[in-house]
Amino acid sequence: MPVVSAAPRVRVLLVDDHALLRAGVRAEIAGAVDVVGEAGTVAEAVALIAVERPDVVLLDVHMPDGGGLAVLRGVAAQDPPVRFLALSVSDAAEDVIALIRAGARGYVTKAISGPDLVAAIRRVADGDAVFSPRLAGFVLDAFKDGDDGPESPAAVPVADPDAGADPDDQDFDRLTPREREVLRFIARGYMYKEVALRLGISAKTVETHVSAVLRKLQLSSRHELTRWANERQLLDE
C-alpha cells in the first residue's frame, strides 16, 4: 500500500496461521500502519522478523509448532527490541499469561475493532502496555490472593517463606492498591483516559501503572502465578 506520510508509520508484521484472518486484519489496519509482512508459521515468523525488523509484531497465540510462545522465544535474542502484541481468539488465561510472561507487551482479542487495534499497535510501538479488559481480569485473578489488602496474611512479607533471598522479589509478587484500582477500571471496560478521568490522574500515569503491572507479571517469581496457571489447565476439563 503506497501511502506516503510525513510522520514515520509503525511497521507491523502479522503472524497468524489463518490466511483469511491475516487478510482481514491487514485490510483493517493497512490505512494507518505499514504492514511489512505476513507469516503463517513459527519458522517463517522468526525468519521474517529477523529480516524486516518490524516495530510491532501482531502475534497469534495459537499456532501449530508451539504458537506465539515459540515465536517469542525464537526472536528473544535480537538486538533492536521487537515488540509483540498478542492477538487471539483464545480465552484461555494460562496461554495469554504465558505469552505476556514471555515478553508480549499486551493482549487483545480478535474481536477488537480496527481503530482500537491501530491504537493498541501504536501504544505498543511506544513501549507501553496494552491491557484489554479480559487481560486485566486474568491478571487480577492471578494476583488475587496476595492483594486482598494489607491485613490479609498472605500480604505480610514475613509470611512468605522463600522471600528472604531477594527482597525485590516481594515487590513483583504483589500489586499496589493503585495498580489494582487501575486494573479494576480496565476490567470494567474503561479506556485509559477514562480511568485517568475517574482517578484524577493523567493518562500517562495510567500508562505507567499498567506498564508496571506488565513488568511485575513478567518478573514475578511467585509460585502462586505458576500454580494458578496450572490449576486452570487442570480445571480445563
Binding site: P133, G137, L140, R184, R188, G189, Y190, D236, E237
Partner: protein, 417 residues
C-alpha cells in the same frame, strides 16, 4: 474355557483373591457352585499331583477368569517365598509318599517342581501377564487428573508403556523351565507307557505353548480393552464433529441468507462462537449454572441473543450461587437489559469481582446515558428490579454516568463467609 451360563441367578464365575489362597480360583468356584472352597482346593491338589491336570486347569483359570470387582491382584499378605516354601514342602511330602510306595512315582517330582517354578516366573508379580495393580492404579489416577476435552480429542494419552525386554527375558526363563518340566515329564511317561509317548508329546507341546503364549494372549485382551477406550474417545469426537457440523453449517447458511442484515448476522455469529467455545472447553451449553460467574455469563448470553448487542463479561474469582447471589445476578441481568436497550452498537462491559468479603458487579454501557431522576416513578426497570432488589437482599446498587459517555451500574453484595 467358557464359563457355563445358567439361568439361575447364581453369581458369575470370578476369582476372589481377597478370600483365596493362591489366585482365588477355588474361592470363586466355591461362590459360583455353592460349595466349600476347601473341598475344591483338595480336588485341585489331587488333580495337580496325579498327572498335573490341576496345575494346567488352575493356570488357565487364573488367566481367563477375571477377578471379581474390587478384589486385589493377589491375596493380601501373600508372600511368594512362603508359597515357594509350601510348594517345596508339598514336593518333599509327595517324594516321601513315593518312597513309601503310596505315590505313582518320583519321576513326577522334577517336572512338577520345574513347572511350578516356571509358572511362578511367568505369572508372578511384574511379569507381562500380571500387569501390576499399582501401575494400573497409577495410570487410572493419571487419567483422571489430566486431559482436557481437547487433549482427548487430539488423542493425547500416555498409556502404560511396559518395557518389552524385561518381560521377554522373564518369559524366556519361565518358558524354558516349563519346557524342561515337559521334557522330564516325557521321559518319565516314556518309561511308563511307551505307546503314549507320541500323544503325550503333542499334548505337552500344546500345554507348553499355551503356557508360554498365555501372557501374550492376556496382553492381547488388554489391547482390546485399550482399543475399546479409544473407540469411546473417537465416538465422542464423532459426536462433537456431528454437532459442530450441524450447527456451524446451519449458522453459515443462515448468515449467507441474511447477509443484508448485519445485526442478525452478528448475533448468529456470536451465538455460534459461544457454542463452539463451550464445546471446546468441555462445558455443555445446557448445563445448569451453579456459580455466580456462570450464571452471569448465561444471563449476558441470553441478552446478547435478544438484543443483538455484544456484552464482554470479565470475571475474577467465583463462588457457588446462593439466594443473595441469585439476586445479584438477577439485578445484573436487569442492568444489562437496560444497557442493551440504550447502548447502541458499542459493546457493553460487565465485570464481576468475587472476593472473600463481597461480590461486585459493574455493568457499563457507552450509550447516551440517562438520568435516574428523570425516569417516571411508575417505571420499575432500574428503581425496583435493580436498586430495590439489591437493597432487599442486603446489598446496594448505584447508578452513575460513565466518564464522558454512557452509564455504569455498580452492584455490591457483602458475603459473610
Amino acid at each position: 474355557m467358557s464359563t457355563p451360563e445358567t439361568t439361575a441367578p447364581r453369581p458369575r464365575l470370578r476369582r476372589y483373591t481377597a478370600t483365596g489362597e493362591v489366585y482365588g480360583v477355588c474361592a470363586g468356584l466355591g461362590v459360583r457352585l455353592g460349595i466349600d472352597p476347601a473341598l475344591l482346593r483338595i480336588a485341585f491338589v489331587v488333580a495337580a499331583t496325579t498327572g498335573g491336570l490341576g496345575f494346567v486347569l488352575y493356570g488357565l483359570a487364573v488367566i481367563f477368569v477375571p477377578r471379581a470387582p474390587g478384589q486385589p491382584e493377589v491375596p493380601p499378605g501373600r508372600d511368594w517365598r512362603k508359597l515357594l516354601g509350601l510348594v517345596l514342602l508339598a514336593t518333599a511330602g509327595l517324594t516321601l509318599l513315593g518312597r513309601l510306595g503310596v505315590w505313582w512315582g518320583e519321576a513326577m517330582t522334577w517336572p512338577v517342581l520345574l513347572a511350578g517354578t516356571g509358572l511362578a516366573v511367568l505369572y508372578g508379580p511384574g511379569s507381562p501377564a500380571s500387569g501390576g495393580l499399582r501401575d494400573r492404579l497409577r495410570g487410572g489416577v493419571r487419567e483422571g487428573l489430566r486431559g482436557s476435552r481437547l487433549d482427548r480429542l487430539r488423542g493425547r494419552h500416555d498409556d502404560d508403556d511396559e518395557v518389552p525386554g524385561e518381560g521377554a527375558g522373564r518369559a524366556l526363563i519361565g518358558g524354558l523351565l516349563v519346557l524342561a518340566a515337559g521334557l522330564a515329564f516325557l521321559q518319565a511317561t516314556g518309561r511308563l507307557a511307551a505307546t503314549g509317548r507320541a500323544l503325550g508329546g503333542i499334548l505337552v507341546v500344546l500345554v507348553v505353548l499355551a503356557l508360554v503364549l498365555g501372557p501374550w494372549v492376556v496382553r492381547l485382551l488388554r489391547t482390546l480393552t485399550a482399543e475399546r477406550r479409544e473407540r469411546i474417545r473417537s465416538q465422542e469426537r464423532a459426536e462433537m464433529a456431528a454437532h459442530l457440523h450441524d450447527s456451524v453449517l446451519q449458522t453459515l447458511t443462515l448468515i449467507q441468507r441474511r447477509a443484508d442484515d448485519p445485526a442478525t448476522v452478528s448475533t448468529l455469529a456470536r451465538k455460534q462462537e459461544r457454542e463452539l467455545r463451550g464445546w471446546l472447553t468441555g462445558e455443555r451449553p445446557d448445563a445448569p449454572a451453579d456459580t455466580v460467574a456462570a450464571a452471569l455469563r448465561k444471563a449476558a448470553e441470553s441478552i446478547e441473543d435478544q438484543f443483538a448487542v455484544t456484552i464482554d463479561v470479565v470475571t475474577v474469582g467465583d463462588r457457588p450461587l446462593d439466594d443473595r447471589l441469585v439476586a445479584v445476578v438477577a439485578a445484573a441481568r436487569e442492568a444489562m437489559l437496560n444497557a442493551a436497550r440504550f447502548a447502541g452498537d458499542e459493546p457493553i462491559s460487565v465485570f464481576l469481582d468475587v472476593t472473600p468479603k463481597d461480590v461486585e458487579v459493574f455493568v457499563r454501557d457507552r450509550g447516551p446515558g440517562f438520568d435516574l431522576d428523570a425516569v417516571p416513578a411508575d417505571r420499575h426497570g432500574v428503581r425496583e428490579s435493580i436498586i430495590g432488589r439489591m437493597a432487599r437482599h442486603g446489598g446496594e446498587a448505584t447508578v452513575q454516568p460513565g466518564p464522558g459517555v454512557g452509564t455504569e451500574i455498580a452492584l455490591r453484595m457483602g458475603c459473610p463467609s
